[in-house]
């Protein structure tokens, strides 16, 4: 039904535009010069006035209803819900909702079906109410607006002010997103740290939140904080990132140097798109490649050498991640190297230096801040990369720096903790948010430092 209301509003928008325009034109009998604003602006004014508030109300309704419904149903079924803990309550509401509005319900029973009926009834009522309200608002807006359209009416000012407001709101979305990320991460992490002290999380060396018997999935109070030591994850992440950078930094940097200073035009016209393709391949493809081709290759190769290489070794994941980051390093360093003025190269050549000497002794030192910042951005990319490690690295926490063993990373653990059945309130799922917070802070810090490095050490040549 709401879909039809939205469609009706969109039709109204078009109709109102037409009416407003016609009204403006007829008010001056076609002599548009007598109008303060263009006829189309009058049309837009009327369209915005009639459909705008109604759409806003609908948006507000869409955002607010689920929460309101849930609290009403929760109040109605207080007796049945009384002896449930929070995860069970949420599962109850989720199933009832699924029964009412379609979806996959876990275990339907009578209480849930009753709740589902209640949900459906509530939704029906609120849909009627909101539709009525929307119709009223649209009618009011339309008739009030059409009376305001006169030759002197400054429709342009109104329309442009609304448009400008819309533009500002859109750019505020970026702030809201950051705010949403920060708040949701901090809020959930605080709940986690109420159950598990943060020093045990940050400095503990035992990580096994999946082991339900030790209390990870239990309600608050029964949580065993000793199984949330995240140090193995941090070490694993650093190990894989280190291996990735061992591949990506030299290869990426050398290809950037070659492409900017040595390569002929033809070579560049082939190599640059090739790097772009490498950059455009989805990470899940790299993950498949790592798990299916690279990891077995290293395992078999290790067997030949008499080494025991885990089939989910850090080496395979790290190397494939390095391949993924090569184009990132290369394109960032390429920009930086190209930004070094030609006069420096010419000066060096004039003193008799060879090309490689010029690059190593003049260009690279001049570009160093940019290169360092590019490498830091690449590290931040590697730390936050998920799919390659989910598919090719281990799941069990393993505190080691041996690249031939399987290690797990922060992102892998976030995924394994949150995929599948989850109760949103258990320490297990909250731990994922704490890990997310760490991830966010580290990558943010790396990005800020990278920008600072460039700002502080950049030489002004021109």
């Amino acid at each position: 039904m709401i879909t039809y209301v939205v469609i009706a509003l969109l039709v109204l928008f078009a109709v109102a535009y037409y009416f407003g325009r016609a009204r403006a034109l007829s008010s001056v009998e076609g002599n548009t010069a007598a109008l303060h604003s263009l006829p189309s602006q009058h049309g837009l004014f009327l369209a915005l006035l009639s459909a705008g508030p109604a759409l806003l109300i609908l948006l507000f309704w869409g955002v607010a209803t689920p929460g309101v419904e849930a609290s009403i149903v929760e109040g109605r079924f207080a007796t049945q819900l009384a002896d449930m803990n929070l995860p069970e309550k949420q599962a109850f509401l989720r199933d009832a909702r699924a029964l009412a509005f379609g979806g996959i319900a876990g275990f339907p029973n009578e209480a849930k079906e009753a709740a589902a009926e209640h949900f459906a009834a509530l939704r029906g009522q609120s849909e009627w109410i909101v539709s009525g309200l929307v119709t009223l608002l649209a009618a009011l807006g339309f008739f009030w607006g059409i009376r305001r359209i006169t030759p002197q009416f400054r429709a342009r000012h109104v329309v442009e002010r609304v448009l400008r407001l819309f533009l500002i709101l859109c750019s505020v979305v970026a702030i809201l997103t950051t705010l949403g990320i920060v708040l949701s991460l901090i809020f959930e992490s605080l709940r986690f740290f109420q159950q598990v002290p943060f020093y045990k999380f940050l400095f503990g060396t035992h990580w096994s939140p999946q082991s339900a018997f030790t209390g990870a999935g239990q309600e608050a109070g029964a949580v065993n904080p000793d199984i949330f030591g995240a140090v193995p994850l941090f070490v694993g992440t650093m190990l894989i990132t280190f291996i990735a950078m061992l591949v990506a930094a030299p290869v990426g940097l050398m290809s950037a140097i070659y492409l900017s200073d040595y390569a002929s035009k033809q070579v560049r016209s082939v190599a640059k798109p090739m790097l772009e393709i490498l950059a455009g391949i989805p990470t899940v493809v790299y993950g498949f490649f790592a798990a299916l081709t690279v990891a077995p290759f290293f395992r078999d190769f290790g067997q030949v050498l008499g080494l025991s290489v885990a089939s989910e070794s850090a080496l395979a994941a790290g190397i494939v991640m390095g391949i993924m980051i090569i184009p990132f390093v290369s394109s960032l360093s390429d920009d930086v190297i190209n930004a070094v003025p030609q006069s420096l190269r010419d000066g060096s050549a004039g003193l008799g230096a060879t090309k490689s000497e010029t690059i190593r002794k003049v260009v690279l030192p001049a570009a160093l801040p940019g290169i360092v910042s590019a490498l830091m951005l690449a590290i931040s990319r590697a730390i936050g990369e998920t799919m390659i490690v989910v598919m090719a690295a281990g799941l069990a926490a393993n505190l080691t720096i041996n690249p031939l063993e399987a290690v797990t990373t922060v992102t892998v653990q976030i995924v394994t903790l949150l995929v599948g059945d989850q109760e949103f309130d258990s320490a297990k799922t909250l731990a994922a948010f704490a890990l997310g917070l760490v991830l966010f802070c580290v990558t943010l810090a790396l990005n800020i430092i990278a920008l600072r490095v460039v700002k502080k050490y950049r030489e002004q040549y021109d």
């Binding site: 505020v172 979305v173 702030i175 060879t354 995924v415 800020i448």
Partner: protein
């Protein structure tokens, strides 16, 4: 004086031309060429990686685009199929009856089950659908092609038990068939050596036993096949080979006696010797045929490798991308317009810019956490829905679109704005009537690149439950769905070899979409972007 210059061929022995200096120069030049080759090597290494990755996937994907079908004589007469109630018929029986009618000699529960296993377990559903949509009419016995089981399919494609070799043997001295067991007598004992090499177990009196851990020996003779499990040296310099009959042997049929050795032990492959013989027999009868794998292109998700298709994921991806585009394009362009054309230089706009740049570098999985905490748990939006996936991806691609749009807007020269303002346009009119249309090619290029990123993104969608196993083709923005990259991720986890090929094929399709989008972006850039 001039003479010495004219005869200057004689090298002067100063500090720039003496032996040491030339040595140094050689060293420097060597270093120069080393450095250059190092650079070229780096580029070549990247090219090698790309080639390796693509070739691995293309070669793996190729077999998945076609599938083998088995034509069965289905008995659709009135006693089996009730035309008025097509959903209520027992299609399982119809299909297994048809299959067993092709193998009249098969007896015993286990063998019958093996025969039924040759056809896909999704075949009854397909048969029902064929009857329902009218491509098959009930009544009489109809020859109809149905997909084979994935292992039989892989065997026919030559991907299972491919390491087999055939040799022609001398005609045995005697062939004795008793029930399901056959005994063959050969006059030479070359068979013994071959079996010993293949890993047969030694038993008392020089006898050999071929277990499921050793290579399989199948002897074709008399229009049938015998699997050799026991070999014993005969009293007079021959070999007695014994084993179960896989396909009935008739004593009077002529033709050469062939020995087929399959090196992979039966215990280590997914298709048994018996099934291999059956499939070969079906193929020889012309009942199997390779066709385009329509089930892969137009089917939904399934646990059965031969039934699994990507259409559900493609539709899910399309719905998700629609939401992403509908949100991120207008919001991104509007934000870029404000920041580039209207924003005063103050703290707020500075803060917005810092935010946008930071968001561009936030790991994608963090956006998934945001979606989980805010969209799912706070706003109670449905899990696994394209709507939520699209919203999360829209937030993720927003920085890309804003940054690209700002660059495009900045590239429009100020003279355009001044001219518009000069003829009396308002600031808004200037931007929307003149600047924006000129910047549109650049904006669209950035948008397409952002959308391509979003199309390949997996991690945030795992967080909001799009990893659920969904069989139905999604019908709307709030129905449970999955997307192509997540489907790839899920298939990559399945152990069946057929799923690895499906994964590769799905990757190829995803890459195809990405290449298409990027090609459009390149064309837009080349055709419409103006340099001022």
């Amino acid at each position: 004086m001039t003479d010495t210059l004219a005869g200057g061929a004689k090298p002067q022995n100063n500090q720039h031309t003496n032996e040491q200096a030339r040595g140094r120069l050689r060293k420097r030049y060597a270093a120069e060429s080393r450095f250059k080759w190092l650079g070229a090597g780096a580029v070549l290494l990247s090219a090698f990686f790309l080639l390796l990755l693509l070739s691995t996937i293309v070669f793996k994907a190729f077999p998945a685009f076609r599938a083998n079908e088995l034509t069965l004589p289905l008995n659709l007469s009135a006693e089996h199929v009730n035309p008025d109630n097509l959903t209520g018929n027992n299609y399982d029986t119809i299909i297994s009856d048809a299959l067993l009618s092709l193998f009249p000699q098969v007896e015993g529960r286990q063998e019958r089950r093996q025969v039924r296993g040759l056809i896909s377990s999704g075949a009854p559903t397909l048969l029902r659908q064929a009857l329902q949509n009218g491509s098959l009419t009930p009544g009489g016995t109809v020859e109809y092609a149905l997909p084979m089981d994935d292992f039989a399919d892989l065997y026919l494609k030559g991907l299972l038990a491919a390491d087999s070799a055939e040799t022609v043997l001398a005609t045995p001295q005697s062939v004795a068939v008793e029930g399901n067991e056959a005994e063959l007598r050969f006059s030479d004992d070359s068979l013994l050596d071959a079996a010993r090499e293949a890993g047969a177990l030694e038993e008392d009196g020089g006898a050999l036993r071929l277990t499921t851990g050793a290579a399989s020996f199948i002897i074709y003779l008399g229009g049938g096949a015998v699997k050799i499990t026991d070999l014993a040296p005969d009293a007079d310099a021959g070999v007695v080979a014994r084993g179960p009959v896989l396909a009935s042997v008739s004593a009077d049929a002529a033709g050469p006696v062939r020995l087929r050795v399959i090196a992979t032990p039966e215990g280590q492959r997914k298709i048994s010797d018996r099934e291999i013989v059956w499939v070969d027999q079906l193929k020889a009868d012309g009942r199997t045929a390779s066709a385009w794998n329509t089930q892969f292109f137009f089917g939904g998700a399934s646990r059965e490798a031969e039934m699994a298709g990507i259409w559900g994921a493609v539709v899910g991806s399309a719905l998700t991308m629609l939401v992403t585009l509908a949100l991120s394009f207008p919001i991104g362009v509007a934000a870029a317009i404000y920041l580039e054309e209207f924003a005063p230089k103050n703290r707020l706009t500075g803060f917005i810019e810092v935010n946008i740049n930071n968001l561009a570098a936030v790991p994608s999985i963090v956006f998934g956490l945001l979606g989980l905490a805010v969209f799912l748990n706070w706003f109670n939006l449905p899990r696994s829905a394209p709507l939520v996936g699209g919203m999360v991806l829209a937030l993720m691609t927003l920085p890309t679109i804003i940054i690209a749009s700002r660059a495009a807007l900045r590239a429009v020269p100020p003279s355009i704005r001044e001219a518009a303002l000069g003829v009396g346009a308002s600031k808004i009119q200037t931007v929307f009537h003149h600047v924006l249309p000129l910047a549109m090619p650049g904006i669209l290029t950035g948008t397409i690149i952002g959308m391509a990123q979003a199309l390949g993104e997996t991690a945030p969608l795992l967080m909001i439950g799009m990893v659920a196993f969904i069989v139905d083709i999604p019908g709307g923005f709030t129905s449970p769905a999955t997307v192509l990259p997540v489907q790839i991720f899920m298939w990559a986890d399945f152990p069946e070899p057929a799923f690895q090929q499906k994964t590769s094929a799905a990757i190829l399709i995803l890459l195809g979409f990405l290449i298409l989008m990027n090609a459009v972006a390149v064309v837009l850039r080349k055709r419409f972007e103006r340099r001022w």
